[in-house]
Amino acid sequence: MDINIKIVDQIDCTRVYEDLSHPGSGGVCVFIGSVRNTTANETVNELFFEAYEAMAISEMEVIAKEATAQWGLNKVIMHHAIGTKKIEEPVVLVGASSAHRTACFEACRFLIDTLKERVPIWKKEFFDNKKVWVTPHP
């Protein structure tokens, strides 16, 4: 089991294959979440991310271990950025490395979905004339 978890100021996407490649893996699946220029048809200028860092890391570890056990992964990576992020900047990078491709695709989707549900990180959206903490309503 090889788990690589970080809260960073800037996501580095250039090392992702180095971080996930493994002699026993035939496939690596990676998801990168980035700042989109609109949300609900309004123009977004930038985002700000805040984390409860120690807990975010321990929650990501739980998620990574769960994924490793369920899909028999060789490697997992989960990086999340904090601070101000401009349009097109990466804010989250998750990835899984496995013998066959179905496992890494399913695991990668689980990593990002579960991160979004459980990991204590908050996003504030900056528009032209307002800024709001994103709080999903039921």
Binding site: M55, K116, I121, W122, W133, V134, T135
Partner: protein
């Protein structure tokens, strides 16, 4: 005894940290939530409000003690 606040909860409370004396401090997670929701009614507008005890999500019946690291977790929105 300190409680940490994040995101919109920090904004509602007006601080990233509140200090409670040992006396007024609630005994359980449920008690803490009742107390906070009374004191800061705007917290009731959130779709959820979780409490973390020592960096883990806590259940309502868990007991709080002096040395716990306590944090208020409004709806998360990472990723």
């Amino acid at each position: 005894m300190k409680i940490h606040f994040f995101g919109i909860a920090k904004e509602i409370v007006g601080s990233s940290e509140l200090d409670y004396s040992a006396l007024e401090f609630p005994k359980t997670v449920a008690g803490l939530k009742v107390q906070l929701l009374e004191q800061y009614p705007k917290l009731q507008e959130l779709s959820s409000l979780a409490v973390a005890l020592n960096k883990k999500y806590a259940t309502e019946e868990m007991e709080l003690s002096q040395n716990d690291e306590i944090a208020i977790i409004p709806p998360v929105s990472g990723g």
